[in-house]
């Protein structure tokens, strides 16, 4: 079966006074039906822009997006409307992604109202059902978002996204603003929903541990480009790209007996405005060499494991020597 979503060479540039800001630069990937693609990266890597571009909240600069076998790179209005019933988005900040003047019930019902074709009673019933699905007690129906805590607010966001029965949901850091205990509740809820409705997720986050939990495939981004892409376990077991390695090692592990050897990176992320042609990670990379100034090619090391680094083979060898 064809993948649910295919993205080829997607680019999204913003014009700024300093020059072209390469927010997403030549990104390709696929998402299978009912599976989860995790997109990891630090702030400024373009992961959020990528999600919005696929949702057509931002028009892509270049590249092809294929959904259910149909090219949707430049959708016409009716197409786009149809598309948005199948693709939804959950935002990072549940505090700002719901109109503060809507009650919880109204907010969840709104997508149904806009789609139309349902009687008011049906819509109310459907809303209650959705609230139940995401674990919101019906007594909150007339509450305003500011009266609720972050976890419940994020549940509203999920219910809204779910209401049109989409096949694909872009989740833009949905748990980053939440406390650990609440975060776990929401992650479990999302996993349950995926199982029940067979939804595919594109899970955008900066948190590697979360992404490990929820993803089938993981894509690591740096400055608008994909540096490594692999099935989740493969990525964690055989990390190839120097940036992915550094990223992994930087996560403090909550176990006093497993002290990780940290790979300290030099400096900070460089400017995404008119970046040089070579490897974008080069200025911070411990293994940078002359070849890195050339444009990098994505290579498949083992089936399904892609890496965009000209030295990955040498580096893998080196590590074994050690």
């Amino acid at each position: 079966m064809a993948p649910l979503l295919e993205v080829y060479n997607l680019k999204k540039y913003f014009k700024t006074r300093g020059g072209l800001l390469h927010a997403v630069d030549d990104v390709s990937f696929t998402v299978e039906n009912g599976e989860t693609l995790g997109v990891v990266g630090e702030s400024g890597c373009g992961k959020t822009t990528l999600g919005r571009t696929i949702m057509h909240l931002l028009p892509p600069t270049e590249g092809r997006i294929v959904f259910e076998g149909k090219d949707i790179s430049k959708p016409k209005k009716p197409e786009l409307e149809e598309l948005r019933e199948k693709m939804q988005i959950i935002f990072q900040d549940p505090f700002s992604s719901i109109d503060p003047r809507m009650t919880l019930g109204e907010a969840i019902m709104e997508p149904l109202v806009i789609r139309g074709g349902m009687s008011k009673a049906d819509m109310i019933a459907e809303t209650r059902k959705l609230m139940d699905t995401v674990g919101l007690a019906s007594r909150f129906e007339n509450s305003y978002p500011h009266e609720l805590d972050g976890g419940r607010r994020q549940r509203i966001g999920i219910a809204r996204a779910l209401s049109l029965r989409p096949k694909f949901i872009v989740c833009d850091e949905p748990v980053s603003a939440l406390d650990v205990s609440i975060q776990a509740q929401i992650i479990n809820l999302m996993l349950d929903l995926q199982e029940e409705y067979g939804i595919a997720y594109m899970f955008v986050t900066h948190d590697l541990s979360v992404v490990k939990y929820i993803s089938n495939d993981i894509m690591v981004m740096y400055l608008g480009q994909v540096v490594e892409k692999a099935p989740a376990d493969e990525l964690f077991d055989h990390t190839l790209h120097p940036y992915s390695k550094a990223l992994l090692s930087a996560v403090p592990i909550p176990d006093i007996h497993k002290k990780t050897k940290r790979i300290s990176l030099m400096g900070e992320i460089s400017s995404p405005v008119d970046p040089p042609a070579g490897c974008r990670f080069m200025p911070r990379c411990l293994y940078a060499c002359e070849r890195c100034a050339q444009p990098q090619v994505m290579e498949e090391s083992t089936p399904g494991h892609f890496v965009s680094c000209c030295r990955y083979k040498e580096l893998a060898g080196k590590e074994e020597e050690q």
Binding site: L57, R84, R115
Partner: protein
Amino acid sequence: MEKKRKNSRLREIWFQLKTNKLAVVALIILIILIIVAILAPVIAPYHYAEQHPKDSYAPPSAKYLLGTDKLGRDIFSRLIYGSRYSLSMGVIAVAIAAVIGITVGSVAGYYGGWVDNLLMRFLDVYQSIPMFLLCVTLAAILGPSLRNAIIALGICTVPGYARIMRATVLTVREKEYIEAEKAINAKDPRIILKHIIPNAMAPIIVEITMGVGSCILSGASLSFIGLGAQAPISEWGAMISDARSVMREAPQLSLYPGICVMLAVLSCNLLGDGLRDALDPRLKN
């Protein structure tokens, strides 16, 4: 559900406003002023232009509550009628300015790009002329009358509303929930009417409340220099102007209308302050 929500929103604002004693007092004063203005012919003992030549400069008495002026006109009645002119000056001028300003500001803010650029550059030029100077010039050119003064005031105060509306629309437009609305297929008119405008209204409401006050003030100034209400209309500023020539003989004549202007403007400002806190509890100190 719809109705209930609107009510509860209003109730919430009222609840917040209630905690501010001064604002409540201001609101009551304004309501009284409006009632007085509407019922002026009923309340006032005399018509504002009615002259009693025999009773020139009469002291306060049961017959003339606050005395009379040179022509023997009852000051109290004139003040009551004056509320009609002064208030309408404020309200109508603000209405003109707000309607134009909100429209211009929303268009500029929502569509952005060259429309925004053009409108904003135009406002830049507009605002580089000192506001009161422009207003006086306009009023003088249109010819001195109450109506023309209101028009001049209205036109001159447009930029304030336009800028505030534009700024708020710009911030609201960038909010994530607007993006969320787009993601569920909400169309532009729905987004603008149901989400952007209601969320952008708060600063404008405050601005309008304060604006009524400042238009009453500027209106009075216009009348004072003879470019607003013309005799015998007893607009408060015009009354002060009348009284100016007899300041030695009857200083109280300029005192009363001044106090009236101040009371009305003060109430608007207090209410505006109160509303600002009520609409945006964040700003409350």
